[in-house]
Amino acid sequence: MNFSISITYWSHFVVISMFALGLLGFLLRKNAIVVLMSIELMLNAVNLLLIETSMRTNTPEGIILVVFVITVAAAEVAVGLGIVLNLYRLKGTVKLDHFRNLQG
């Protein structure tokens, strides 16, 4: 019992660190690809939490949700990379500082 509590504690620590790292990466990094990677990191942190919870509460829903999250994240990255590729084709760079056309 003690063991499972300590696992919960540590997994939460890992989850929050990963999520915060992803959020920081999203806020601070200027490379489009790295921003997409940061979003992936956030989603994977959540996946970890879902798996942990699913094991702890002994219910299958969490693991099912993880499968869907992974699939959706893959679709999102596919679209994202497509857009980044198109941006590169049009502008010759993926540095976000160079995309400042939409400002009021």
Binding site: F19, M42, L50, V79, G80, I83, L90, N101
Partner: protein, 492 residues
């Protein structure tokens, strides 16, 4: 087997749209010559009408099905009607615009139908997993639609911004889902709600965190404070017909999901048909602050803009603020007012963006300068725009006024949030300034050059078709109000 078939039958409108989607694919493969004329639009409109008929058929008896993960109640039915109508109108708008190129029209129709299925899934979801799938189905396809003009840098930039903020918002939301799942051990709304009630106020900080995270994911969809900042950029960069769709369809879907999750999970129905926040989670004060912030940010940012698309984008943020106001009282009249406002907003906002699209097709840009004297050269367009703008401002005799009147009225009647109603009225006054700027440019400024412009009949029919409900709902609104009340009565 029999039960599964019965459940699929209850999902008939979505299935119908999906079948039409497949049909479009097949027809496009067999007859490539059809893709550049109006055939995809006709098929889209037919699909939407067929789904509306099916919605009316399956919506008669409220039911939860597929083990309670999807519900089919009056609320779902109402939003299905709204989404199918929006999709049909949007495809009509897009096929008259040069921004959606003839060679890629079929892709537009396919994406639009996909988003429509996602939206109606969002409205009927009664399980966090289904809600997540619905939201992502809408989001990911919206990213593609925002970047529809592949050779246009602005369109692509809008698409990328939409994608990045969407990704973060959905990550925050799914974090909230996983916290809720950890606390209650279930993803079903009814079970989560039961667990929260059973906690009897002893909910703790984590539940609040989960609520805030889930809200932030949905706030991104409805572009409410503090997740609103993507909206002006995306609305400006995306092709105008698609902007018109974004400002109504996914936003209404976000409202559907937000209302359902707040009313069935985080609130309980009281005996008199109103709601009460779950003990220990009284979120109404927070919603009030968010609503105030959304209105103020939207209206004040719009004041200094010169691009009409951007002005309307900020105005659509402000309208979300007004609509959220109906949620703070958690009573039937407030929610009914939100539903009525969504109907009014749908017609007037698509109309306003449509006019911008027509003007930008003629002049090649969409700032205030492009609108100079356009009311005199195209009177029908100018009059319709005046109707939409007056309605958006909330001037009596137009549907927007009735919507605002009902919302402010419900807030004042409840007595608790008088400052919010006052702020709403003040904001409406402020919004008059930037709305009138557009009208002044259209009607009072003389055109720079003498030119004879003619509004194509295609656009005139559609614009008048949207202007009529905007006026009629401002004068004769009782049936719609009764319909909205009936919608809420069966909320499962």
């Amino acid at each position: 087997m029999g039960e599964t078939l019965h459940n699929v039958m209850l999902l008939a409108p979505e299935v119908c749209i999906t079948l039409f989607l497949c049909l479009l694919f097949i027809v496009d493969g067999l007859f490539p010559s059809l893709r550049s004329n109006r055939f995809p639009m006709i098929l889209t409109v037919v699909a939407c009408i067929a789904s509306m008929i099916l919605t009316a058929k399956v919506g008669k008896t409220p039911a939860a099905f597929f083990g309670g993960i999807v519900v089919n109640d009056g609320f779902t039915t109402f939003f299905r009607y709204l989404f199918f109508f929006t999709a049909a109108v949007s495809s009509y708008v897009a096929f008259g615009s040069t921004e959606v190129e003839a060679k890629s029209r079929i892709e537009f129709s396919l994406l639009l139908l996909c988003v429509t299925v996602g939206m109606s899934l969002m409205a009927s979801a009664s399980n966090l997993l289904v809600l997540y799938m619905g939201i992502e189905m809408v989001s990911i396809i919206s990213f593609v639609m925002a970047g529809f003009r592949r050779d246009n840098l602005r369109s692509n930039e809008a698409s990328f911004k939409y994608l990045v903020f969407g990704g973060v918002a959905s990550a925050l939301m799914i974090y909230g889902f996983s916290l809720i799942y950890g606390l209650t051990g279930s993803l079903n709304y009814s079970q989560i709600g039961a667990s929260l009630i059973a906690a009897q106020g002893n909910v703790g900080l984590i539940t609040w965190l989960a609520l805030v995270l889930i809200y932030s994911g949905l706030a991104y969809k409805i572009s409410a404070f503090p997740m609103h900042f993507w909206a002006p950029d995306v609305y400006e960069g995306a092709p105008t017909p698609i902007t018109a769709f974004f400002s109504v369809g996914p936003k209404a879907a976000g409202f559907a999901a937000l209302l359902r999750i707040l009313l069935t999970v985080f609130a309980v129905k009281t005996g008199d048909g109103n709601w009460k926040a779950v003990e220990g989670l009284s979120f109404t004060a927070i919603i009030a602050v968010i609503s105030a912030a959304t209105m103020i940010v939207g209206n004040l940012s719009a004041l200094g803009q010169t691009n009409v698309k951007r002005i309307l984008a900020y105005s659509s943020i402000a309208h979300v603020g007004y609509m959220l106001m109906g949620l703070v009282t958690l009573d039937r009249s407030g929610i009914t007012a939100i539903i009525f406002y969504l109907i009014a907003y749908c017609a007037m906002n698509i109309g306003a963006f449509w006019v911008v699209g027509v003007v930008s097709n003629i002049r090649g840009r969409e700032d205030l300068e492009a609108f100079r004297g356009i009311g005199w050269s195209m009177p029908v367009l100018g009059t319709c725009m005046a109707i939409f703008i007056f309605s958006l401002t909330g001037i009596p005799m137009f549907s927007g006024f009735i919507g605002k009147f009902l919302i402010f009225g419900s807030v004042i009647k409840s007595g608790g949030f008088l400052w919010l109603a006052l702020l709403g009225v003040l904001n409406s006054v402020v919004s008059l300034y930037y709305y009138v700027k557009i009208l002044k440019s259209m009607w009072l400024d003389k055109p720079a050059t003498e030119e004879s412009l003619r509004l194509p009949f295609y656009h005139a029919v559609g614009l008048v078709g949207l202007a009529i409900p905007t006026i009629v709902l401002g004068l004769y609104f009782t049936p719609i109000l009764e319909f909205a009340e009936k919608t809420l009565a069966t909320l499962l």
